[in-house]
């Protein structure tokens, strides 16, 4: 598509990001994996390993599949219609990323639990005791995973769908093809990139999940590979074996990524950059559909989220009390950790969005599929393995200092969020490349001018979305922060875990509420900031 010089330009543009990823990922990983060989034999030959693996694959596959399928009708409606709360709901759905997993579990329990809010409400309504039996089952694992990840699919796919020229669908209708036929044979192939991206992100998110799997699954029968790695790093301190598991995990991941890369290559989609779906104003019956869908989405997103502020204000005896709020705000650490959380999340997300952009452009322009795959590896490798490796790096390469701690935490967050950024921006970068970039070249503009004046501004909506994902993820991150900061960097989630450690779940809920409010504020500011600008691509 473009010449060697252009490729070199994009390589230079993304060089910083590439080297950073290499440093952040390859070095710690190789340090971890170099210890793996001593016990690799046992791990690789145990039937138990494969039993756990098959469940992990099954659970991740199902979670990703259902998330993607469920998101389709919403993504369709959101990408084709204009209505009140449209972008608000899109952003709101990302909020669930902000909460550390223990609070997600708690939010689920408070709302869907046997003595949760839903049970109470139903009991009152029906006049007899009802105990909702949703949790502690395989269904609950999938439910919680879909809950956490539907927003990823929803946002990515709606974003892509907006950019499909309706001309293709219309011409299919004019050929007498029904809606379903058109969707399957025309629309779906054009959405392939977004769907695959969402699928991969969700798959690996669930691949390394274990708190949700263990607590909400209700039985050790449901265990993921991450449980085994975590066990050896955090409980039994068998680092060689942990590394062997990490190696095993890594190889499985690699195979899956390569396979998904192959699927991504089959039949390249063609899509015009010219037209895009016109956002239709709603009238009559469609207005009702919109209201129903918005309500449905809110009903899905909000209950577990709102359970957290609810618990922070109402104690278990049903009495209203502000004491937990007074308690957390009486601490001097509180303001420091708010500042820390915001600073780390903002800088990690900004870098993640910008570096993700350069990597997405590099991948789109050179047709390299390796970069997004490579960048997904940190997500897929799991925080237990990475934390272990990073710790080794930190100790051997960095002096023990506060600056180093901040840097390591921010870098680690950057690495965790960058797969989301690349995959959010990639479809946009690919779309731009078709003709706008080339147009600029034919006008005699240099690669850099084209990047700075055309590509970069036109990718702003993608970048914003990437920023939001990254911000939410980083704000709620706790494992890496605790392991890498030597206790010198206190963020809100760290504080939250401290509180839970000292039995104070109500205080933890208040902290969780603060996290949600912070994320909400940032989303709101960004949302307000975009009104003035023309929407792009």
């Amino acid at each position: 598509m473009i010449g060697g010089k252009a490729k070199i330009f994009y390589l230079k543009l993304s060089l910083f990001a590439l080297l950073l990823l290499l440093f952040l990922f390859i070095i710690p990983l190789s340090m971890t994996l170099s210890r793996a060989l001593t016990s690799a034999g046992d791990v690789f030959s145990s039937a138990y390993t494969y039993r756990v693996l098959s469940f992990t694959l099954f659970e991740s596959f199902l979670s990703a599949l259902i998330s993607v399928l469920l998101s389709l009708p919403f993504a369709y409606f959101w990408s084709h219609h204009k209505f009140f709360m449209r972008s608000f709901v899109l952003s709101l759905s990302t909020l669930s990323f902000t909460i550390p997993s223990i609070l997600v579990v708690l939010g689920f329990v408070i709302f869907y639990g046997r003595s949760g809010v839903l049970s109470d409400v139903l009991s009152q309504l029906l006049g007899r005791e009802v105990k909702v039996k949703v949790l502690y089952s395989f269904f609950a694992i999938i439910f919680a995973h879909v809950y956490l990840n539907l927003p990823v699919a929803f946002n990515l796919i709606a974003n892509g769908w907006e950019k499909i020229d309706p001309i293709y669908e219309e011409s299919s209708y004019s050929l007498g093809r029904g809606k379903m036929r058109t969707f399957i044979s025309v629309t779906l192939p054009m959405l392939k990139k977004e769907i695959l991206s969402a699928f991969i992100l969700i798959f690996f998110f669930c691949f390394t999940s274990f708190s949700i799997v263990l607590v909400l699954g209700g039985s050790p029968k449901f265990s993921t590979l991450e449980v085994e790695i975590y066990r050896r790093v955090h409980v039994s301190l068998e680092l060689d074996e942990a590394s062997a598991f990490a190696l095993f995990n890594f190889l499985v991941t690699l195979v899956i990524l390569l396979v998904s890369g192959k699927i991504g290559r089959m039949g390249r989609e063609k899509r015009m950059a010219g037209g895009m779906a016109k956002l239709e104003k709603l009238e009559g019956k469609k207005k009702l559909v919109a209201i129903a869908l918005v309500l449905l989405m809110l009903l899905f997103i909000l209950p577990p989220l709102l359970s957290i502020p609810y618990r922070s204000l109402v104690d278990r005896n049903g009495e209203f009390s502000l004491s937990s709020w007074e308690k957390i705000f009486s601490r001097s650490q509180m303001s420091v950790s708010i500042v820390n959380s915001l600073l780390i999340a903002l800088s990690a997300a900004l870098f993640s969005a910008y570096l993700g952009e350069t990597l997405a452009l590099f991948s789109a322009r050179t047709g390299s599929r390796i970069v997004p795959l490579f960048a997904t590896l940190p997500l897929a490798t799991g925080s237990a393995t990475l934390g272990l490796g990073m710790n080794i790096v930190q100790r051997s390469l960095m002096p023990q200092s506060l600056v180093a701690s901040y840097l390591m935490v921010t870098l680690m967050h950057l690495m965790i969020t960058i797969p989301f950024s690349i995959r959010t921006i990639l479809p946009g970068a690919a779309l731009l490349g078709e003709e706008k970039t080339l147009s600029s070249y034919t006008l005699g503009k240099s690669y850099f001018t084209t990047f700075a004046s055309i590509e970069h501004p036109l990718l702003s909506s993608y970048r914003r979305k990437a920023f939001l994902f990254a911000f939410a993820l980083s704000l709620g991150e706790v494992n890496a922060t605790m392991t890498l900061s030597s206790g010198k960097v206190t963020t809100l989630p760290v504080l939250l875990y401290n509180l839970i450690g000292s039995y104070d779940y109500q205080g933890a809920s208040a902290l969780g509420t603060v996290l949600l409010l912070l994320a909400f504020m940032v989303f709101f500011i960004l949302g307000a900031g975009r009104k003035g600008k023309a929407d792009v691509t």
Partner: protein, 335 residues
């Protein structure tokens, strides 16, 4: 580009601010590695450290690397190069790894005389006990069910879905129950687990989520410590939650503090250990929700609600050696 520059500034700003706070303190100081329970905002650290610094004039450089296991693996990995003078929070259940790596130097503190011999899990005194606890099932008295009287009772069908356990693969508390069951049932421990897991509403990944589920009222019995009711008495003025004492005994866990073999400030380290074993005892116990190791410690009244087990079961050396294999067998049997 401008924005990128801005981003760079945002990243570097906190660094530059805190970089100044990073002053040289190689004068009169001691570096303490501690688990997050101690260093957290609501832990004993923030209360005891200033007190110690004021009394002795020794500056404490406090470092945490997450939980006890992460901390231990870090000290081991650092070896000779470690900055740690003191390491706080190694329990007897994981002490073998520390002995194997030979990273602690013995210290005969004068306060050892005030500590019950039974608690001195390391006779060579490389690790000195500072507090201890016993795993127990905590019971919600408002649930209206009959409390179980023994580990065996928990397998009764009346407790179906009334029980929250903790996974031994991902939590020290869960591991504690695994050892406890082995001490009580011997080689039959796995069949007990198979039975009891049928009654478990869930087997949580850690104590935090298990106890959270319990206080949300999901189930009336949870695996925790005998000392757990103290928090509810002291902070919520509630005696609703009771720790159940079983006649067959309870598995105990003892937490220790040790001085690094490579300590650069040995004298200061000794002062710090002494402080934790004497003056620091009450705060340590309350904040950690444990019993103090030093018998002369005065405790708040709320400790009346932390029943002492009639019999304390301790990890034997054979058990310690077989721990990892037990975990494997557990996983094989349960999954």
């Amino acid at each position: 580009m401008k924005k990128l520059f801005f981003a760079l500034c945002v990243l570097l700003l906190p660094l530059s601010i805190f970089a100044q706070a990073e002053s040289e303190n190689d004068g009169n100081s001691v570096t303490v590695y501690a688990y997050d329970v101690f260093t957290g905002e609501w832990g004993a650290g923030p209360e005891l450290i200033p007190l110690f610094e004021e009394e002795t004039g020794i500056k404490v450089n406090l470092i945490t690397a997450g939980g006890a296991t992460e901390m231990l693996s870090r000290v081991i990995a650092e070896g000779e190069g470690t900055e740690a003078d003191v390491v706080l929070g190694i329990s007897d259940d994981m002490a073998d790894k520390a002995y194997d790596a030979d990273i602690f130097a013995p210290y005969e503190s004068k306060y050892l005389s005030e500590i019950d011999d039974e608690l001195e899990f390391d006779k060579e005194h490389r690790l000195l006990p500072f507090d201890w606890g016993a795993y127990a099932f905590v019971f919600d008295t408002e649930s209206g069910i009959t409390p179980p009287g023994s580990l065996g009772d928990l397998t009764k069908s009346e407790y179906k879905d009334n029980l929250i356990l903790v996974d031994p693969r991902t939590s020290d508390v869960g591991l504690g129950l695994l050892l406890w069951s082995h001490e009580v049932f011997g080689d039959e421990y796995l069949s007990w687990w198979k039975e009891v897991s049928k009654n478990a509403l869930t087997i949580a990944d850690g104590w935090s989520s298990a106890y959270g589920l319990f206080t949300e009222g999901e189930a009336p019995i949870v695996l925790s410590y005998t000392t757990s009711p103290v928090y509810h008495v002291m902070n919520e003025n509630s005696t609703r939650y009771k720790a159940l004492v079983f006649p067959e005994g309870h598995h105990g866990t003892i937490e220790g503090i040790g001085i690094s073999k490579y300590a650069k400030n040995r004298e200061n380290a000794e002062a710090f250990v002494d402080f934790i074993l004497s003056e620091g005892q009450a705060t340590m116990a309350v904040k950690n929700s444990m019993y103090p190791a030093n018998g002369n410690t005065e405790l708040p009244d709320a400790y009346e609600y932390a029943p002492l087990p009639e019999k304390l079961l301790r990890t034997t050396d054979e058990e310690m050696a077989a721990k990892d294999d037990m975990l494997d067998s557990w996983a094989e049997a349960m999954i």
